[in-house]
């Protein structure tokens, strides 16, 4: 599985400049108030906040399904309102919670919707469709001829992602894309999407109401509060370590220290070398510190052995070593790393 055609072209930077959306009543749900932030090309920026805080409104102003009352949204340095709205939308991927697959088109036809609107010749459309289905983990032979009603919720969501990637957009807008599937399927979709994103490196604006999803998916997080104001903007670790206000602290939850531990893995720690020790817990490099701490507490053990990629002992992990990982606030996980 490779990114193929999708991997070749780039991502676009995105910037909100004092963007507002007012509805008749100043306390109306979905209003947005003087929103400004920048997302570098290739980063996932998550808009998170309670319902009615204007996060979906903000997302829909990017592809102009909603027009801002004030301010500018710059895509690759160009104001989105200066571009023809149809052209703009066709080069921005769009994924929504209910997926919005066309029930009367097959999976293959759904994926090829934008290429078909753009007049791609049939052979190129078909090749691209198969490539994309493979990319999201659906066997083209098996799936391209099916209708949406013959798919599970998770499969529909994969098709939705494939469809949004069809013409290799430099920006993807994803509005609660994994919220409608069960927790186990959601976790898998999130993991697969992050793996895909490491190859594709698209710029992504991602809306969720779920803090844990925001922390997991985001390189950057914009926490929004009622009234459509930006409460805080930063890396997941910054927001967990230094909430800017009482609202943010409450919103991210009392376990924010533990949440920070889930941002770091055993492999990230610098450790004293150790010999193999019998009877101690062992940790794979990919184990999250949060899970490692839990294992140590349950095992009533002060320490465990970190393994390297080959499964050899790499170092001695203590509860103190895990706690010290919280001393440093990490600006960003992947962007520029």
């Amino acid at each position: 599985m490779t990114a193929g055609e999708a991997g070749r072209t780039g991502a676009a930077s995105l910037e909100f400049r004092h963007v507002s959306k007012r509805y008749g009543d100043s306390t109306a749900r979905g209003a947005v108030n003087d929103l400004s932030f920048q997302v570098p090309a290739g980063a996932i920026c998550v808009l998170v906040g309670p319902s009615g805080c204007g996060k979906t409104t903000s997302l829909k102003m990017v592809n102009r399904l909603i027009e801002p009352s004030a301010g500018q949204i710059m895509l690759e340095g160009l104001d989105v309102t200066t571009e023809d709205v149809t052209v703009l939308r066709r080069r921005i991927g769009y994924v929504i919670q209910q997926v919005g697959l066309f029930p009367h088109l097959t999976v293959g036809e759904n994926v090829a919707v934008v290429p078909s609107l753009m007049g791609w010749p049939r052979p190129r459309r078909l090749a691209r469709t198969d490539e994309l289905l493979g990319l999201v983990g659906l066997d083209p032979e098996e799936y391209r001829g099916r209708y949406p009603f013959q798919l599970s919720g998770g499969e529909r969501q994969r098709v939705g992602v494939a469809r949004a990637l069809a013409v290799d957009p430099p920006l993807m807008l994803m509005d609660e894309p994994f919220a409608a599937v069960d927790p186990i399927a959601r976790e898998r979709l999130q993991d697969e999407f992050l793996r895909l994103q490491r190859e594709l490196a698209k710029t992504i604006l991602f809306v969720t109401h779920d803090v844990d999803e925001a922390i997991k998916m985001g390189d950057l997080i914009a926490v929004m509060e009622e009234g459509g104001r930006l409460a805080q903007f930063g890396s997941p670790d910054e927001i967990l370590a230094r909430p800017a206000s009482e609202f943010v602290a409450r919103f991210v939850g009392g376990d924010r220290g533990l949440k920070r531990l889930s941002l770091v893995t055993i492999g990230d720690l610098e450790l004293e070398p150790t010999e193999a020790r019998v009877g101690l817990p062992t940790f794979e490099p990919g184990t999250k510190l949060r899970d490692a701490l839990s294992v140590l507490l349950v095992a009533d053990s002060r320490g465990g052995v970190a393994l390297d990629e080959e499964g050899r002992p790499r170092g001695y992990v203590t509860v103190d070593a895990i706690a010290s990982a919280l001393a440093e606030v990490r600006p960003n996980r992947t962007v520029g790393a």
Partner: protein
């Protein structure tokens, strides 16, 4: 009716050619009304969808027209348009509207909002969205309207027999049999009219299946098969 058999088959065999002609006339009168009614209703439905305030008015007018007894309408129109095909068609067309419009409007209303949101977000123009998304998704309910209108119209064509021998299709035999107390004619006219309605209905069911292979099968062997393969 003394000792006479219920159906005089010798009469039937002696009139096969004439019966075929009446079937042809019946279908002709019905087809014009079904088609013209569809076109008019589609326009009324389109207006109703775009201007929601007009929908109750359209419905009220269509329902009012439906309350006029067909017998009275045919008879009354003779004074205006004479004994012409127009006189036969106007009531038939009027009666289809109340059957078509709610189905067509419901068909377009049935298009899920998330599908429209996705279509807009992916850059469909208004026209592309209408042709490629809304119209195809409205088809199941539009076909339901066609089924109702065709069954109703095929039955009503018989009433136009009161306009004279040149009208009525199979209704001619019903009226003539009634006047002559000849049961065979009434049965031939009535049963064949029912048969035409059933055939038309089945035809539209088939058309619907062909046009909407994507529809979720609800009952029957098709449903079971799809579930297994899906």
């Amino acid at each position: 009716m003394t000792g006479e058999p219920l159906v005089r088959w010798d009469w039937v065999y002696g009139h096969l050619g004439a019966i075929a002609d009446r079937v042809g006339q019946h279908l002709y009168l019905a087809a014009i009304a079904i088609a013209a009614g569809f076109v008019i209703s589609f326009a009324l439905a389109a207006i109703s969808i775009r201007r929601r305030r007009l929908y109750p008015i359209v419905t009220l007018l269509a329902t009012s027209a439906y309350t006029i007894p067909s017998f009275a309408l045919f008879a009354g129109l003779v004074a205006i348009t004479g004994l012409t095909t127009v006189t036969a068609e106007v009531p038939l067309i009027m009666y289809t509207i109340v059957l078509y419009v709610p189905n067509i409007v419901a068909g377009f209303d049935s298009v899920p909002l998330d599908v429209l949101d996705a279509a807009d977000g992916m850059g469909y123009t208004r026209g592309e969205r209408w042709w490629r998304v809304e119209l195809p998704l409205a088809v199941p309910l539009v076909v339901a309207g066609l089924r109702l209108a065709s069954v109703s119209t095929i039955g009503l064509v018989t009433v136009s027999a009161i306009l004279g021998d040149s009208f009525g299709g199979l209704g001619y035999y019903i009226l003539d049999g009634y006047e002559r107390h000849f049961t065979t004619e009434i049965l031939v006219g009535g049963l064949l009219s029912i048969a035409l309605a059933v055939i038309a209905d089945l035809g539209f069911v088939l058309l619907g299946r062909v046009l909407t292979p994507w529809a979720i099968p609800r009952v029957g062997p098709r449903a079971a098969r799809q579930r297994v393969s899906g």
